[in-house]
């Protein structure tokens, strides 16, 4: 096997990596100790950040990629994949994270966007990307740009699952509508939702997105995670919900078990018992428009 015969960073390898995360919980962590707790609890991967989204909200100012040192320490601490967030459109932050060695990059609305017109051209990278979406059009534009995984945007840092539910229903519902359409109607719909016609056709054929579809943005309890799984998510991201809860270890284990047994209410009841207080949470209707993260990027 000669080195020149190896192919790196192909679409198959990127989407394959995303498939390996299915049925799993990806947890936000801000240091090596939290990363070890997440791994020990059964997380499939960790998202390395400087602050969890709820703390980004509190801190205000410009939220950027984390210090590479934090990410490097987390990479050294765990054996599971490590992901990192970059600002929408900030392809140099993405180059930096690829050089640091993260396994997947989240081009995320949780950070302050660097480009209000364009997302990153993700096909240029060897490392796979995950991107947020609120509806089918957004999801397919991101896939067209090279995203290997989609997640609902939800409303990060609120501990309120309502927006994640809205976005999952939107994506699933729009695909069901496509399946009842003629080929001509689907072409028209592709124009309306500003998505490539070929990807619209693919969704109609598959009855789902052509990539893995996770849920994120406001999940705070085992039941929240199981709800998203029952609605058709392939897995979940939990951000502030674990390490801002009263007992992070317990909450992390409970959410892993809830995702594994998402359709078994008896198990969900057991794992939800005695967890202590979940994160405080915010009613999304009280947010000012400039505080709503999901409107970033489209």
């Amino acid at each position: 096997m000669k080195l020149e015969d190896l192919k790196f960073g192909t679409e198959l390898i990127k989407r394959g990596f995303a498939s390996m995360q299915k049925g799993g919980v990806i947890m936000d962590v801000v240091n090596a100790d939290q990363a070890k707790i997440a791994e020990e609890a059964g997380a499939v991967a960790v998202m390395a950040l400087e602050r969890v989204p709820a703390d980004i909200r509190k801190a205000g100012g410009v939220a950027r990629m984390a210090d590479p040192q934090i990410i490097a320490e987390i990479i050294d601490a765990v054996s599971i994949p490590v992901m990192g967030k970059v600002r929408i459109g900030h392809y140099v932050e993405a180059q930096v994270l690829e050089a640091v060695g993260v396994d997947m990059i989240d081009e995320s609305e949780v950070l302050t966007p660097a480009d209000e017109e364009y997302h990153i051209d993700k096909k240029k990278f060897t490392v796979p990307f995950v991107c947020g979406a609120r509806n089918l059009g957004e999801a397919l534009r991101r896939i067209d740009e090279g995203a290997a995984m989609i997640r609902t945007k939800g409303e990060a840092g609120t501990g309120n699952v309502v927006e994640a539910v809205r976005h999952m229903r939107a994506i699933m519902g729009e695909i069901r509508v496509l399946q009842g359409m003629s080929a001509q109607e689907r072409i028209d719909r592709a124009r309306t939702i500003e998505a490539p016609a070929a990807l619209v056709e693919e969704c109609a054929d598959l009855g789902r997105l052509p990539t893995v579809n996770f849920s994120a943005g406001g999940l705070a309890t085992p039941s929240d995670a199981a709800l998203m799984m029952q609605m058709g998510a392939d897995g979940v991201f939990v951000g502030s919900g674990i390490f801002l809860s009263k007992h992070p270890e317990r909450m992390a284990r409970a959410i892993v078990e809830a995702v594994n047994n998402y359709d078994d209410p008896a198990v969900l009841a057991r794992v939800s018992t005695g967890l202590g207080e979940a994160m405080r949470g915010i009613d999304v209707h009280t947010l000012r428009e400039d505080e709503v993260l999901q409107y970033r990027g489209r």
Partner: protein, 205 residues
């Protein structure tokens, strides 16, 4: 025993029964690949509970995160049923780590079904994941293999046959009815390795 087991009864009449361990990872890809390879001559089911294992002829342990799958195997009381399973095991990537006798990482307690030692993430991180043509014993042309944060076997016991290797180590083995692969045949369209596994199962029935 004079009473025929449920396994013998079911399979002589309805074909091979394959289960895919459905705790975490690329379960649906494994199910689709085995359905393709069986071509209607058998059944493929997702296995989420220990009780479903005994009736199977073959069990696939998919790719995913070996630490997570290993933890869920214990959490769902599936370790003993898998260790005592009499059929064949088809393990890829994380599955290969879990079926090994020895793993280079104390975070994993492997099932010890195949006499070999396995090193995790032997090629590096995701950016070092690759596709390559790998020659496999028993196949007339190389197999297009997809390696994702893949492990390799660094030692095999006398009962374990090496089917394929690359410069970093052994990437395909067989041991009795079991097969273990570092890479992911379920992600591609080539079903030759699945058929190789199924042929051995059918021969021994």
């Amino acid at each position: 025993m004079s009473i025929p087991s449920a396994r013998t009864r079911c399979c002589s009449t309805v074909g091979v029964r394959i289960g895919v361990l459905a705790l975490q990872g690329d379960v649906s890809e494994h199910m689709r690949a085995f359905r393709d390879a069986l071509g209607g001559r058998g059944a493929v089911t997702a296995v989420r509970h220990a009780g479903a294992i005994g009736d199977l002829d073959g069990l696939a342990i998919p790719g995913g995160e070996s630490t997570t799958i290993g933890r869920l195997v214990d959490k769902n009381a599936m370790r003993r049923p898998i260790e005592e399973f009499e059929g064949g095991i088809f393990a890829t990537c994380a599955g290969m780590v879990l079926v090994a006798r020895d793993v280079d990482d104390p975070r994993i307690t492997p099932l010890g079904l195949i006499d070999m030692a396995v090193g995790r993430n032997a090629f590096g991180r995701q950016r070092e994941s690759f596709e390559a043509e790998v020659p496999i014993s028993g196949l007339d042309t190389p197999f297009h293999a997809i390696f994702i944060r893949a492990p390799v076997a660094t030692r095999v016991g006398p009962e374990t046959t090496v089917l394929g290797r690359v410069d970093r180590g052994i990437v395909a083995v067989r041991s009795g009815l079991h097969m273990a692969l570092s890479f992911h045949p379920e992600l591609g369209g080539d079903r030759r390795l699945h058929r190789m596994f199924l042929e051995r199962l059918q021969d021994t029935r």
